[in-house]
Amino acid sequence: MRFRRRLILLYVVFCCVMGVVWLRATQLQWIDGDVWAQAARKLRQRPERLDAMRGPIVSADGVVLAEDAPVFQLTVVAWDFQRRARARCSGCGAIYFQSGRRKLHFPRTCACRRQLIRRSGEDAYPRKVPKEESAQLERLPPADLRPLEKVLDIAPGSLAIRAKERVAEVERIIRELRDRMDREGDDTSFREKRLELRAQDLLRRPFVIIGNLPDAAAQLVLTNEDGTFRGFGVRSALRRNYPLGDFAPQLLGFTSQLGPEEYGPLREQHGDRVTFNTRIGRTGVERACNWQMHGEPGHRLMELDESGQFSITVEDRPPRPGKPVALSIHAKISRIAEQLLFSDPRRGPAGYVPQGQPSGAFVALDAYTGEVLIWSEAPRYDLNTELDDLYDKRLTEAKRDLDAGLWIPRHPLDKRMTIEEWRARLVQPAPVSMSRIAQLAVEPGSTFKPLIALGLLQSGLPLPFHSYHCHNSTRSPGCHACGSVDLVRAIEKSCNRYFAYSVRDSKYWPTYRTYLGGFIEEVGIGRAPTDEISEWSRGQWLWPYVDFTMKDMLGHAQAWLQEHGGDDAPTLELAALPGTPPSVGGDPARLGSRLAKVAAWVAKRTRARKLLVSATRVETIERDVVMEFGVRAAGARPWSALPGTDRTALPSALSGLPRHRVGIRGQLERGGMVWFRATMPRRVGRTDRSKPPVIRPDDGRNVAIGQGPVLVTPLQMARAIAVLANGGLLVDPHVVRAVGGRAVQRVPRRLRIDPGHIDTVRDGMYRVVNEEGTARKANWGQVPATVYGKTGTAQVGRTWQPFGETEDGGPWHHWFVGFAEAPGRRTIAFACVLHARAEAASGMTAAPATADILARWYQDPASRGGK
């Protein structure tokens, strides 16, 4: 009976369990049914993001510079590409595609195979059928891609190579996915399935290999029916198109898709406007006006129909296109300026051609509003075709130029920089992608003189010389033997001696250099022209002050002792001798280690735990300062300096130094010290950007002639010169005139400059062009306006020397800056620079080029109007 009872009990338990299960099923269906139905519906729906068309960029003369355009893209699907080996059935003649890596096998669809199966009675591959009875598969040669390559105008075989590279990349990712599956050893079927699905998805997903496919090529692929282009596909997409190709690429900038690490922060900031497909502007106007041009993406919700197709539209919100951006630049005249500047054979020998094409720039802006009107520069690149491999290209080019010893845009004046460091720094910037107008800052040369002249006049102090006699001297390169010159004539003749020597010899020079430091900055030198485009360079005005304190140096020495000093060294205490100046200059890491070695040696000899360090400036050589450091044991009475040095006992770290650089003064045990000297750059200019800059005494001569610690972009020069054109207004140069139809207004700032002083400088600049000045030989007759200008021939080179010790020879930057005014026409300030010319004659290159450009400008209706 007990058995029966127990069985019944078990059965009752089972019934109860089944009852619970039934109740659960009922709950899911009747109570939670709506929730699940909603969830299921969501599952059947597929949201689609509809990317908005990015707003176009249009020039002032109505030329579309950038727009989103539907394009065809050539894609490759890894799965199909791997199976593009062709085979023909000898039985029925059908062509099949297979993986080239494996043995050929009959596809299931082949009628011959079915016949063979029937005959052999097998349900698998009919291996037992004698060869002579069975249809065979013959391998065919690979499909000919040459017609497509011909349309695309690329080298034979390169299409397959590109596709293979992309497929190899996909295969690598899939391998990684599968490795991950193995490594994690996880068996959760759905997780594994999910990874496998991702792998499968990658295999079947089209990847773009050519972003902008010509229509003819697209047609060729789409209409092909014999499987020649198996693995390749065509899809349409929106692509940023730049109709003028290589017009001002550095200014317009480019867009690219978001990176994975960018998505999160941008999504937080801009919400639904950002999707994985979002392209954002990376440089130039594309970047500056990115969110205005971005538009609002649309949204569409599709639902599955009965046949399993997403054909039912549940929601549809069309995308809103981005706003158009109107630039102030006149594309047509800018294009002409490019031709005149860089393609005109009259420009003479081009000198160095660093990037395979000449380097230079011409920029003109409205002197009263700051609108940039003409923007021409070289080198350029084609935004439609060269973007993808731009990085590689510019890197390769930079390396090539470096190896060939060609001119490089800029190198630092630090003589201690090793060639390796220099090379490393040179490869870093992007020479091609760097705008010659707004980013590449170089020495302005003599074009800086009008600004210096204005500064001298504005300082309110008497001029250094009312009249100065400039005589010919072979020891002064660049001397034009101007004879007797005053300030106006010095500008006209571009007299280096007037600006360099006379200024230096003036008793007011200390006041001048203090005033000039601030004044030059006030007219926009050393400051970014505008924050409109963040990449625009602020150039350089006086070297940044790099200085290290005694405290830093002792800190480094202490750290060195902790790490390398041996058992006793970490307990050593280093302190500055009272009276030691806090600022010692130099590199604290390099000097700190040397100091630590000396300290360890002194401590060992004297058994002292505390050491005192002194630092004294013993000599100043041009830009350098020689410091003498002394280390002695604390506590002992300082030994009075005695001549005579015992070098025999010096530690090995110091014994290698020359006799005059290191020694022992006195007896260490009785307060004597070990001393060593170090030469370090004294980069003095300004300690703090909040304080006005002061010209270092030694830099005065160079600054006065636009050399040395001053680097400017043409845009900055045009802006500064505009101050002379408009009578003291500092304009904000800008290229964006309107966004979405709303004008962008920028109010110029009035500087406190005496109009009389401006007139004096203008007089000098007038004479440069119209009388006996350095630019007189250009054809100014063709320009229906009064032109004021200043030439400049700035010296660059590897072995830069301070003024007076310059080596002859190039390369040189040829500058011509100025402004032009005419009744009823816009007053424009312009700057022209031709980089790295072999001959030192800017009056023969930059000035004539400017004259030609201005002549064309005044023929253009855009030049009308203004003040």
């Binding site: 058995f3 089972f14 619970v20 049914g33 969830a39 299921a40 068996d187 079927s189 759905f190």
Partner: protein, 375 residues
Amino acid sequence: MRRMSLGERLKSADWLLLGLGVLLAFAGVLGVQTAADGRVDYGSIQMRWAIIGVTVCLLMLAMPYRVVVQWRYLWYVGGILLLLAVLVVGRGKSAGRWISLGSFRMQPSEIMKLILVVTLAGYIRYDKRHRTFLGLVAPFALTLIPFLLIMKQPDLGTALLLLPVLFVMLYVAGANRAHLGIVAAAGMVAAGVLFFTPGLLNEYQKDRVRAFLMQGSDDTALLRSHNHQIEQSKMVVGTSDLLGRGVSETTREAIRFLPERHSDFIFPVMIHAFGLMGATLLFMIYLLFIGLILRTALKVREPSGRLLAVGVASLFACQTAINLGMTLGLLPIVGMPLPFLSYGGSSMLTSFAALGLVLNVGSDHPVEFGRGDFD
């Protein structure tokens, strides 16, 4: 002892029980056909296995069950060897549970379940030692060896199924409830310790338990991925109605995101296709089916036959309860097929073989029998 002839056995077999088994198998074929994604014709394959299963069932009916029980250790050793073999040559997309024999993949753990029932039935039948505490050691040892080997594959679901079967068999064989309670409590404590001991359970197994405990939460991607199957299953059940959507495209569309829908998760497919009414009918069939097996156990006086029937009943009952509980989110997910319904050759053959044994027990009435009913 006179053996019954084959004719007598066939005559006295419980054909209703076999009919219910066949009915379930047919429903399974229908369900699997519905769940198939079109790439593989699972329905036809399942039908083939069902026919083979019925044949196996009849063969088992033909062979006297006492002979089967007599050779229990032979089966047991064979089963253990197969489980060892699966550790060496085992294959499977998620766990190494199968041995490939040409185109057929055998799952030894499925067979081992039945072998263990036979072995335990033979061991316990005339023994009273299991009524003492120490006497439980031997049956537990017999169970724990395959348990550990199956765990090693790893196949937690099948391994855990062996324990309730053992408990039920010992319970009906007269084991002390207190002893069983102590062992069960100790087992639960041990399970807790094992769960938190690193390296003993795979992470995914722990994740499944965690995911079960945190149902509805989507705190982490991991839990989301593990809850996915339960959520999908509940969704399929929840979106059906009283009479179901039938075997139609709509049903196929609704279940397309449910993983393993043709095997372990066949029940949501059935309930979606045939509604709550169909599910209720299915429950009734299972209840009747288990009830008939237990009736057979009550009918028979021979202890090993009784134990066999009870063991098979507990096997089916536990499998059914765990599978249904798992698909409805009442239990964590383990790899557990629904008897007769889920796709799988090994499962189908084992189920029919077990059914054959029960039919055999029910139809084979020995003239003399041992002692009473474990009193």
